[in-house]
């Protein structure tokens, strides 16, 4: 396995959070080159040619997305999506915590490519420490003239603001992020219109993930071809994979896309604890359909995961071994989405809480196999019918768990029924006055 990296190369350098250390290691060369030696178009073309795909979950070509923004004198914006809330994902946190200037430089390059004059880093409120680190880094950048008016004398001006969220997974959805940034309730908007045309304050807006933007300085300095030398043809570059769950060495690992999943889970993360086996694993955070042992040798990239019936998403691997009941995993997951649903659209709002209630009943011994059919049907009714993908993010994994682990669900259900003695006890339905 290669130990070439891009983003983590200097990650453990002491003092890397400081601008002078970052500069010493070659930092802000990319920004300088882009602003003083290249045109906006050339930067866009370089990014597009690199084939860099969004690292926040959707995997859309970054350069292509940036090129959607209309040209001309209107006010444009760039938003960096640092609302990392996908369960199992903690890569952006490490990047922002240890390597803030890499992101700041990436944001400014992205802004230049898009023609944006105002850039925002929307960071989840829970990342208080990282937000403070970024604040300090942004201040340093302003002081050094890397942000603000007429950067490096190039004529390009861009303001940069770090904005803290207030605890909502839905604000990681790009249009909900925009509404939240505007001071409104964080609810997603209808698409179309897309943010590239009507985004922040109804102006053209480019929204990119932390990891995506962190790649741009390297692409500008070393070129698109160099970037393509990593990874696969359809998924070039590296990816920081957050591995968590039942593994010996959970953590963030930078890999080249396309290596077998086994190499990550067993090679880098040490595999399951002694005597245990992988029962199920999520390739792309909890929102991805679950895979099993049979998929471990597949290449870990966008296309292969999709072909296997799942998705790469944020490329955050959660490993579940056979000691963890699958019902518990499903319930824990569903509770998360039920809590985080914004409530705007009917299928997600009602479907998530219905799913939780059914899983609770399964766990409590008050369900029958028919409930499994209903639950599977509910997931199918959610998928594709919601305003944004949060609903799908619950329905796809839960649906996949029911499909792949149905016997385990039924067995769990049966054991719980026996344990609860439900056949002999009367069901107590609480009166409304008894419910909090």
């Amino acid at each position: 396995m290669s130990d070439r990296g891009i983003l983590f190369t200097h990650i453990d350098e002491p003092g890397l959070q400081r601008l002078d250390v970052y500069e010493r290691l070659g930092g802000y060369r990319g920004l300088r080159k882009a602003l003083t030696a290249m045109s906006q178009d050339e930067v866009l073309k370089e990014l597009e040619a690199s084939g860099l795909r969004g690292r926040g979950g959707a995997g859309f070509s970054m350069g292509k997305k940036a090129s959607f923004l209309p040209h001309g004198g209107i006010e444009k914006y760039l938003c960096c999506n640092a609302d990392e809330s996908e369960p199992g994902t903690f890569k952006d946190r490490e990047l922002m915590h240890k390597h803030p200037h890499q992101l700041v430089e990436g944001v400014l390059i992205g802004a230049f490519a898009a023609g944006a004059s105002h850039a925002f880093i929307y960071i989840r409120g829970e990342y208080e420490e990282e937000a403070n680190i970024l604040d300090a880094a942004v201040s340093e950048a302003y002081e050094r003239g890397y942000a603000g008016e007429n950067i490096l004398g190039s004529g390009f001006s861009c303001s940069l603001v770090v904005h803290r969220g207030a605890g909502a997974y839905i604000c990681g959805e790009e249009t909900a992020l925009l509404d939240s940034l505007e001071g409104k309730r964080g609810n997603p908007r209808l698409k179309p219109p897309f943010p590239a045309n009507q985004g922040l304050y109804n102006g053209p807006t480019l929204i990119n993930n932390v990891e995506t933007l962190s790649n741009t300085p390297h692409i500008i300095v070393n070129g698109a071809d160099w970037f393509r030398s990593f990874g696969t043809e359809k998924s070039p570059g590296t990816k920081i994979v957050s591995v968590s769950g039942n593994v010996k060495r959970p953590g963030n690992y930078e890999i080249e896309l396309g290596i077998p999943a086994r190499d990550i889970i067993y090679g880098l993360a040490g595999g399951p604890h002694p005597g245990r086996r992988v029962k199920a694993w999520f390739p792309g955070g909890s929102s991805s359909p679950v895979l099993t042992e049979e998929h471990l040798d597949l290449p870990f990239d966008f296309e292969s995961m999709q072909q296997a019936g799942s998705m790469l998403g944020t490329a955050s691997i959660i490993v579940v071994d056979e000691n963890v009941p699958i019902v518990e995993v499903a319930l824990r997951l569903a509770e998360f989405y039920r809590h985080e649903s914004c409530g705007k659209c009917v299928p997600c709002r009602e479907g998530t809480n219905w799913t939780v209630k059914m899983l609770e009943r399964i766990d409590a011994g008050d369900a029958t196999p028919m409930d499994l059919d209903v639950m599977a049907s509910v997931q199918a009714n959610i998928i594709g019918n919601c305003l944004c993908v949060l609903g799908d993010s619950m329905a796809m994994p839960v649906g996949s768990m029911i499909k792949r682990f149905r016997p385990e669900f039924e067995a769990h259900m049966e054991r719980a029924r026996i344990a609860a003695g439900a056949l002999t006890e009367e069901l107590h339905v609480p009166l409304p006055s008894e419910v909090a």
Binding site: L190, G343, V346, P347, E350
Partner: protein, 869 residues
Amino acid sequence: MSDNWITFTVDGREVRAPADELLLDAVKRGDVEVPFFCYEPKLGAPVGACRMCLVEIEGIPKLQTSCSTPVKDGMVVYTQTNRVKEAQNAVVEFLLVNHPLDCPVCDKGGECPLQDISFGWGPGRSRFHDQKRNFPKPIALSPLVAIDRERCILCYRCVRFSQEVAEDYQLAFLERADHTFVGTFDGRPYIAPFAGNIIELCPVGALTSTSYRFRARPWDIVDAGSICTLCPSQCNISFTIRDERVERVLARDNEAVDDGWLCDKGRWGYQAVNSGDRVVAPLVRDGGRLRPATWERALDAAVNGLRTAGAASAAVVGGQTTNEEGYLVQRIFREALGSHNVDSRTGGPLDKHTARLLSHPGLAAAVPDIDSAKCVLVLETDPINEAPIIDLRLRKAVRRFGCRLVVAASGPTALDAGAAERITFAPGTGEAFMRALQKALLKVDAPGDVRHEQPDADPAEGDADEAGVIGGQAQLAAFLAEHSLERLAEIAEVEVDDLEEAAALLTAAENVVVIWGERLGHGEGGATALGALGDLALVLGLDAGEGSGLIEIPTATNGRGLREAGCTPGLGPGLTDIEGPPGMTAAEARDAAGGDVKAYYLLHSDPIRELPEGERWDEALGAASFVVAHEQFLGASAERHADVVFPAESYAEKEGTVTHPDGRLQRVRPAIGHPGEVRAEWQVLIDLGIRLGLALEHHVSAGAVLAELAERSPLHRGVTLDEIGGRGVRWQERDQSRSAAKDVLGPLLFSDPAEPRTVPRPSDGELRLQTRPDLWTSRELEHAPSLDFLRPRQELVLHPADAERLGLARGDLVRISSNGNAIEAEVAPRASVKEGTGHLIEGTAEQNANALSNGLPPVVKVTKAGTER
């Protein structure tokens, strides 16, 4: 709506629709119905939240919300496929997961979109076997609206109304996911003049009317369409009647009048109709007290009293009088009694030329013109208190269509926050302000040519002669040349910069609508002020621009209709000439009490309460030899001084027409029978008229009276009740009226400019007084129990600097006195008020500011209550 039509296919059928029409509407043209909850175009952009309207579009993998998808040429849409049906079933099933099975006890049952859609597009059974989420229910969102949060399907409509239509920003979604609920952002009751609209918007029984709770099921009731006559907005309404009793009022959506909204006064004011305090039998004063009498006796007494006074009689015609009633009373006065003393206006004398100019079709705008106006000038009126629906219309224009608002008034208005330019002139200086504005407008254009030309206007469309010159132009030019902008601005106490900003905004707009308050013409100098208004309209070129014009906000509901039916001392029906010199205005008739005026006819009017200088009215009516009144409720004037009181119909019983401020004739239709001994008032007037010697026997219906009015008045020429129908018709849009009106109204002319009045500045311990109307002070509302909590206490609104100067703090009780009259009020400092001016509410039941006003903005003394020397 686009003019470009395209063809698309829905369920295999080819349909034509305007390009970019929303699919949900477009498929209706192909007879396809798509269910929806959250879609409501009146609330602005679609939200796509409920997911009920999902349809399949060829070429797009996911189902799309048809409410937010614009139709394109060649689009192929499917609404009946299994995929769509499954999605529809799914959404209904999801909605019923937490929605309680309250139908048997829910007011919405029977008129509930959720019921209908569940039945039509739902799976028929729910597979949900768990505990639904609970909320305490129902609770009072406000005293008028109850909220049941369990029933709420979170369709967003009420919140969008509050934030984007009424712009009170009180309602919001709180919490998240299935804990989300609708509430006010601070947990206090939802108090706003338009709150009731959310009841009609709500597609389920989550928001219900507290007064209609458990009153009726849809199969118990009948609907009767009519017009709300509680304010000049004249919204189209529908009475809900159960067993001959009005139980509720709903909107009757007329885009040309009200956009389907109602204010809470209109929605709950009907309760006065059912009040036990109504006068339901004729009353005759016997031994000092009003006692019930027979119609014969009452009519006889009225006839005797009027005949004795003869030409020394005066009629004060109140705002809710219909055109037919007004027309008949002026016939009685002019032809039977020989008196021209008929007045329906609160203000001073109205000059003939000005009255005709302000009714001229060339200068007229219609309410829908507000939508397309690039700039609107709101002049001396606060629509939210005088014609609330216009306030909503203006907000819509500003928010959705980019209209620039210029507000110029003597006091703060609710529209100030959204105004591009806000000017406050001193009370009583409206004329000076308008002259100053004319001067500023002409500075912007090339000097010399008085008229500001609209960019694409065809001068031939206006009344200019071939040279493009309107009569009187030179005079106005000379007048303006003699007065410096600085001097005029000084009189009005406004800044020259602000005037120039306003002028720039007005000049830059392709079309301009001027919404002017009738109170611009109040007080001394009111007549010339209105002349200045006409000049302003011509300077702005409102006659030559498409979609430009004037819209009046009269002080009374049918103010315009009554003027045009002949209820002014100087003009006959249709603003025709009268024979002989003009009669007295109401104020003049008041001052002539005991001398040239011996009898008063109060037709739906309580002058002591509603007109300026109520105390003097008290004296005048006391000095009169005879007073006859038509009253729904006994006001002070009738109670103290009437010799005969005829019971008035409520608007739910009346048959007749009223005229909207923009000239739309609308039908008031009886919804219920008359209570007690009440008779149709047009019939009462006919009886009176016949007894006084007029040949009116052929008037067998209100329609017959209208027919006669239509004959005599060029403006109403040939109009029939059928033509007016349920939507009304603007007379300016009728060819017959336009051609007949040409002769009466004459060409557009500039007025004879007069020296604008200056107003004195107040000295120490004094303030200039400006009275202001309040939506909740009308007499009916005292008998509408639901609205009782909204009746305002008298408050003195003044600038904080003045409050400090006078040693007053918020909440202090003060005594305000002028000319021997005094009232008490609570101090309420507000920074948006002009320094040196105090505002009091007029028309309140107690502490009525009308006691202090005298035509001029008087200077009043303000002292802390209990401390006067």
